[in-house]
Amino acid sequence: MRRERAERWFRRILAVYPAEFRRRYGAEMEDAFRSLLTQEARLHGRVRWVVVWMRTLWDAGVHGTRLRWGTGGADRREGPGAGAYRADRGGRDVVGSLIADVRYAVRALRRKPVFALTAVGTLALGIGANTSIFNIVNGLLIRDMPYERPDELVHIWSQNLERGWFEADIPLVDAWDFGQRTSAFVDVAVYDRRSFTLTGTDRPERMAGRGVTPNMFSVLGVFPDQGRNFTDADGQTFAPAVAILSHGFWQQRLGGDPGALGTTIHLDGEPTTIIGVMPAGFPFIDSQPDVWVPFRGHPADARRGNHSHVAVARLAPGVTVDRARRDVAQVALALQEEHPETNRGWTADVISMQLSQLGDIGARAALVMMSAVGFVLLMACTNVANLLLARANGRRLEMAIRSAMGAGRGRMLRQTLIESLVLSSIGGVLGGLLAIWGTGVIVRGLPSNLPPIFTFEMDGTVLAFTAAVSVVAALLFGLAPAVRSSRLTGSELRDGGRSGPGARGRRFGGFLVVAQTALAVVLLVGGGVMVRSVMGMARLDLGYEAAALMTFSVSPGEARYEDKPAVTAVHDDLVERITAIPAVEGAGAVYVLPLSGSNTVGSFVLEGEDPSDPVARYPARFNYVSPGYFETMGIARIAGRAITLADDADAPPVVVVNETLVSRHFGDGNAVGRRLVLDGTLHEVVGVVADHFERSLADPIQPGVYFPIRRFTGRTRTVVVRTSGDPAALVPILRSAVLEMDGDLPIYGVQPMVDNVTRAVGPYYLMAKLMGGFALISLLLGAVGIYGVMSYGVGQRTNEIGVRMALGAARRQVRGMVVRTGMRRAALGIGCGLALAFGVTRAMSSLLVGVSPTDPLVFGGVTALLLAVAFLGSYLPALRASAVNPVDALSQE
C-alpha cells in the first residue's frame, strides 16, 4: 500500500525531467524505483523512507535541471568536451557554453588592455552619469512616499483661472465641504503652517509647527510610535491644548525622556500637554516641523475665503485622480453659487501629492537632465562601437578562420555580443560606484527647501536601472560590429585578410562620425544655454543690494502682546533700537522677505471700476513694509513719497506700488495721487518704487502693492538690517538688542540676504554645472571619436592613397581629400544636431531665465567649435596620409 503511494509520488517527481526524456525513460525509471525499494529492504531490512525521498528529490533536482538546462551534474567531466558536444547537437548545455564564451571574452580583452581600459572607462563614465541622474529622478518621481498606500494620496488646491492662480492654499471650510459632499475621498485632512514660541525653558525658542485636523496622521497612515494620536475630542472648540512632537525635537530638547509624555510645555504662552511622539525619520509632507497641534473648533464654522490651508486627501478605493477632480470641480461650482461673496471665481484642482510637492519645474528639470545623460551614454556607446569596429577589422582573419572551421553565424554573433556584454558589465559596476559619488555631489546641490518626502538612497530600482542600461549599452555599441564580423565568410582567407573592410565599413565609420557630431551639438547647445542662463542670473539686477544685508524674524506672542497696538509698538521699538546701533546703516521691517519662497497675492480694481465684476479685478503681489524698508534694501524710489510712521490704522489708507503696476495700469506713467480699490476700500497711491524680484528669479516681476506695515494685523515680521561691515558680525549685537527689549522674544531665521539669493539661484547653478559637465564630456568624446574614425579610415586607405600618389596626386591634394571627407560628415552631423537642439532647448525653455532657447550666440558658438574640432580631427590624420611613401604603401600588397 505504502509502496503504491510512493510510486505515485515518484511519477509526479518525474515531471522535473524534460518531456522527451520522460517519454523515453519514464516507465523504466519507475521500474528502477521499484527495484530500488527492494534493494533498500534487502540492505537495511526495511525501507528508510526519509533517506529514500531525500535522495530521490536530490537525484531528480540535480539530473532534471542538468537535462533541462545543461548545467551542473555529476558527469561534467564526461566525454570529449561533453558540454560542447551537447551544445552543438542539441543546444542544451547553454550555461556551460556561455561560461566558456565569457572566459574566452575575458581572455580576448586581457590581450588588448589599452582597448579594454578605454572602452570600460568610457562606458563607466556614461553609465555612471546615467545612474547618478536616475538616482535623483527615482527619488523625486518614482520612489513611493513613506506613507501608507501613497498612490492614493492627493492634494486639493484652490485655483482661480481668471487671475491665473494655480495650486493656491485652500480655505479649511472648502476642504471640509469637498470631503463631505463628494464620495471621491475616504477622508480629507488639512494643515496650516505655524510657528510657536516655546517658553518656560532656559531660553525662549521658535518651534516650527503645523496645525492639523485631528485625522491628519490617519489619512497619511503613519502614527505616533509613543503616546497616542489626536482624536476628534482633541479638535473640540474648548478641548485642552495638546501636541504631538517630532522624534528629533523630543530627542534634542527633552533628551528622549519617555516621561515627557503627559507633561506640559508652553507654546505661545499656552500650557500644552504632550500626548505623543512621531516615529524617528517621519517626514511631514512639506517640511520637518517640531510639533503638531490639532485645530480646535468645527471646520464647518471656519471663515470662508481664508485661503491659508493645505488639504491632503486619500482617494476612495477605485477612484482616479480625474474622477476626484471632476467631483471636486462640481462642488466648487455649487459653492460659488452658495457663497458668491467669498467663492466667486474660485474652483479647485486635485493633484497627486508626489507630483504636487515636486512641482512642474522640478519634474521638468529631472526629465531634461535624464535626456541629457541619455545623450552622453549614446555618445559613449558610439565611441565604443567605433573602437570595437576597428578591433573587429583587426580580427577579420581570426573570425574568418573560425567561420571556415564551421562556427555558425549565430555562434560568432553570440561570441562577439558576449564580449560587448563583458565590457559593459565591468563598465556598469564601475559606473555604479561612480554614481555613489555622483549622487552625493548632486544631492548636496539640491534646493535645501526640498520637501523631506524625497530621499535619494540607491535602491533596487536604481540597481535594476544600472543593469538594464549596461545591457542596452552593450547591444547599442556591440550589435553593429557583431553583425558585421559575423558576416565574414571563409572567402576572406583568400587574400590573407589584407583587403580590408571595404567601402561598407568606411560608410559605417562615417555614420558614427555624423551621429556623434549631432549628439555633441545637442549637449553643447543644451549646456550652453543653461550656462548662459545662470551667468545672466548672476548679473541680474535684483532691484536691491543684497551684499551688506542681514535678516531675521520675530513674532511677539499673544501671552505678552495681547492686541495689535502692542505688537505694532514692539516692532516699532525694535526697528528703532536696531537703527541706533553704530554699525547699522539702516533697518526696516517687512512681512514677506523677497526670495524667501513665500508670497502673498491679492487683487485690486481701479477707482471707478466695479469691484464685484471678477473680470475687472487685477492680480498683484501684496506686501507690508515699514518706513525705511525700501531705503535699507536699496530699492530706488521713482516717484512720490515713502511710507512713514504716520501711515497707521487711523490715517487715510495709502499704498506704494511698483513700476510694473504703473506701466500696466496707468498709461500716462502718473500713478501718484491715483486711487486703487483694495478689499472694498479706496487707497491712494503715494509713491512708486523700482521693480525688484520678489518670489523667485524665474517668475516675471508682477504688479506690486506695498501697504504700511502699521496697518498689518499679523504678528510675524522680518527685519532687514544694512551694515557698513560684515553682516555676520552683526548677529550677536542684534540678538542682545532683542533680548534687552524682551528676554522672552526669540529671534529666528537669522541669515544674510545673500543666502536667500544663493538659495534662489542654487538649483539653476546645479543644473548649469551638470549640463556644462555633460557638454564637456560630450566634446571630449566627440573629438576622440572623430579623430579615431578619421585616423582609422586613413590607415585603411593607405594603399589607395599610395596608388593616387604614384599616379601623380600632390600631397596637398591627398590632405584635401581626407579633410574634405571629415568636414562633409561633420557638417552633416552639425546640421542634424542643430535641428535636434532646437527641439531640446524649446523643451527646456521653462528652466531658462533671461536667455532665449534659440540663443544665437550659443548656437553659433557651438557650430564654430565643432567645426574646429572636426577640422583638427581630420587634419591630423590627413597629415599622416600625405606623408605616405607610395613605394612603401604599394609594397604592402
Binding site: 521500474d31 542538468r66 551534474g73 555529476a74
Partner: protein
Amino acid sequence: MTSHTRSLSSKWFQILLALAERDLYGSAIMDEVLLRTDGEMRLWPGALYSALKDMTDNRLIVETEPPEGAPTEGGKRRFYSITPAGRDRLASEVERMASLVRIARARNVGPEREAV
C-alpha cells in the same frame, strides 16, 4: 586519443563494467553495480538514466534487442549493449587505473599481497 586520457566518472565506469559481461536493462544494471560494489554505489533512477542517455549519445553503449527469454516486462525494458568504442574506453580506463596502482606500489603505498 586525447579524450581517453581523461578519467571516466565512476558511475560510467561501473555501468560499462556491468555491460562488459552481458547485455542488461536499467534496473538490472542498478542491481549489478550495487552487488559489485558491496552496496557502496547505488545508482538512483535520475543518475542512472541520464548516464545511460549521455553514454548512448556518446556512442559508448547502444540499445539492443533483449536476449532470448529475458524478462522484458511486456517490452517495457530496454536492453543496453557496450559498443567497441565503449570497450576501448573501458580498457583505457582500466589501464590508467593500473598505471596508478603501479605508481603507488612503487612508492610502497597500498595493499602488498599481490604483485601485478
